[in-house]
Symmetry: C2
Subunit: 341 residues, 2 copies
DNA sequence: CTGAAAGCGCTTACAG
DNA sequence: CTGAAAGCGCTTACAG
């Protein structure tokens, strides 16, 4: 680089302090000197060293966005990128930068905490996804380091977080099936460790119960593997020989896989089996038939998370916040009877 | 925070210089003192301030990844995230951090350059996508700031870049159609400004010519809008009443849109019209029929770009590099006759 | 309104 | 092998 605040000070015949004040647009600086300094700055194409600045006033304006287990699948799915995009949009408006960290092992977690948080690079952290990150979260809590997690975490009361109301979303989706006349509705991709899915199963059951329908465990397919293969799930489900007319999958891609198997069985969607997914993937609108899905608004999950973090950073009053982002049921032909082809 | 190198020095009865040497694992430090210092560091959970460190030895170990026009679509598509993931994986191995910047206006471009590059936050930049960024690139060149662009830029000889060979990829795809017996092959999503697409059109024409087939401009649909809507494109194409049996779309999603319209016309894929796309989206494997596509390996575009940048950063010998990432033709049922349903 | 000086938390020749 | 001191490029009370 080369040119520093000192050089500008000399050329403009002022002190470094004055240049610094011009840079930060300090109110009590005469218009004249300000103009002169600005001109010199411009002339030399001077731009203050942000690192030095950060060191001096202890603020980097950088937020760490931590993406857990950035496995191939998690990122091919538009969900994470959309959250990231949401976060980035708010960051930009507020003149923050985003440091992206993909974290897949416990070792990497501590590295992130040590280097980014304790090391003073980032002022706050957004944790994209709450699953399993107990240690990460508790460590952050111990440090009293500002952070927001996307996805309701286990220790939900001591942490700021943003999420959909997954119970409610699944409840409404299930209700939609019931209103379409279905009573034997399968649930694909249950999990005993993923809070999101646990909640959705609860919503599903709630809707069934409220409408006086039996909950048939044989219609519920569980798997450790969260981004499970819908095709394989459906195959397993069909083997159980349990009749069904409706199917709720935890993700649109899972639904597509299931539909593929359904078609291979010579059955059609929605006439034989109505199918819906979650996440409202771009393609759900173009698939044949178009897929009913739940839009979880990942973009807004991202924006809101970032907003909460900024609020926490800037207000002197520290609070534990939460935000529920509405999820929208998007009904398409895959669950509308008499429209299949 | 609080605890600094000075505190550790005191507790360990050494100078700050010694602590600093322990931190950076300086060779000539006695095992004894090193151990003692490490113990104290550990005891106080001390982690050096990276900002101060960066300022002192003028190296932040942060790379800026600039994503152009992070519009809704560009990010819902797995292409960018995959490149990002690739870059991140290499970054991590080499102990670099990634600062993500979404840039959609010229104003934001200069801001990135001023703040991140001139401001000394990042040591290098990866530009994801070469389209239109003449000023950005030329500014970076003027600064002699290290950067690599993904996607062959206009001034390709003065810039380090990574890309597929798009001429070759389209050539092979077209050849595949021809070998399947097609001679009237439409080309969806031509462009006169997007280098990627210009190259692909060239590859298409080359294959046609080499096989003695006429190039029918009526079978080529162009649109300014790069991520054009395949459904609309197909509609426009059909209106031209120009018979065709094959269709190449610039993106899988575009292909899906086209297929939708084809189906609505009562025609089937691949028996009436064989269809292929680019980018080998996750869903192309599950769609009905599964879609032939070109895998452009965005992950490797990202890794390779980052590797080139690191090489540039660490070697004393500055060079202008390029890397061609192979694109793989993935043949599926959408272009295989006699397999449609 | 402006400047001199101390300080942010490190690193790195230079001596020894 | 270790320390004292200067320096990285800014900011910010404190005076005036």
């Amino acid at each position: 680089m080369g040119i520093t605040i000192g050089d500008i000070a000399k050329k403009a015949n002022v002190s470094k302090a004055t240049v610094s004040r011009v840079i930060s647009d300090h109110p009590k600086i005469s218009a004249k000197t300000k103009e002169r300094v600005l001109k010199v700055m411009d002339e030399f194409d001077y731009h203050p060293n942000m690192i030095a600045r950060s060191l001096a006033h202890r603020s980097t304006k950088i937020i760490g966005v931590v993406i857990p287990g950035i496995s191939e699948k998690s990122f091919k799915h538009p969900f994470f990128p959309e959250m990231l995009r949401g976060a980035a949009s708010v960051a930009q408006k507020n003149h923050y930068n985003i440091l992206m960290s993909a974290v897949s092992t416990a070792e990497m977690e501590t590295q992130v905490i040590n280097e980014l948080a304790k090391g003073g690079i980032v002022e706050g952290i957004i944790l994209m996804g709450a699953t399993v990150h107990d240690k990460f979260i508790s460590e952050l809590l111990k440090l009293k380091f500002p952070f927001v997690v996307v996805g309701r975490p286990e220790n939900q009361d001591s942490v700021s977080w943003v999420d959909n109301d997954n119970v409610q979303a699944a409840y409404e989706l299930t209700k939609h099936f019931i209103e379409q006349g279905h009573s034997r509705i399968a649930f694909l991709g249950a999990s005993s460790i993923d809070i999101v899915v646990i909640d959705r199963l609860e919503g599903y059951k709630k809707a069934m119960r409220e409408h006086g329908l039996p909950i048939n465990e044989k219609l519920i397919i569980e798997d450790k593997n969260i981004d499970g293969d819908g095709y394989a799930f459906m195959k397993a489900l069909m083997k159980r020989q349990e009749p069904m007319t409706g199917l709720i999958a935890m993700d649109d891609f899972m639904a597509f896989g299931a539909i593929k198997y359904i078609n291979e069985c010579g059955l059609s969607v929605p006439d034989d089996i109505a199918v819906a997914g979650f996440n409202n993937v771009l393609l759900s609108n173009y698939s044949t038939p178009p897929l009913t899905s739940v839009e979880v608004n990942p973009f807004h999950l991202g924006t809101r998370a970032f907003e909460l973090l900024i609020a926490n950073l800037t207000s002197s009053y520290k609070s534990i916040d939460r935000a529920i982002i509405p999820a929208d049921l998007v009904v398409r032909q895959s669950t509308l009877r008499g429209t299949g082809k």
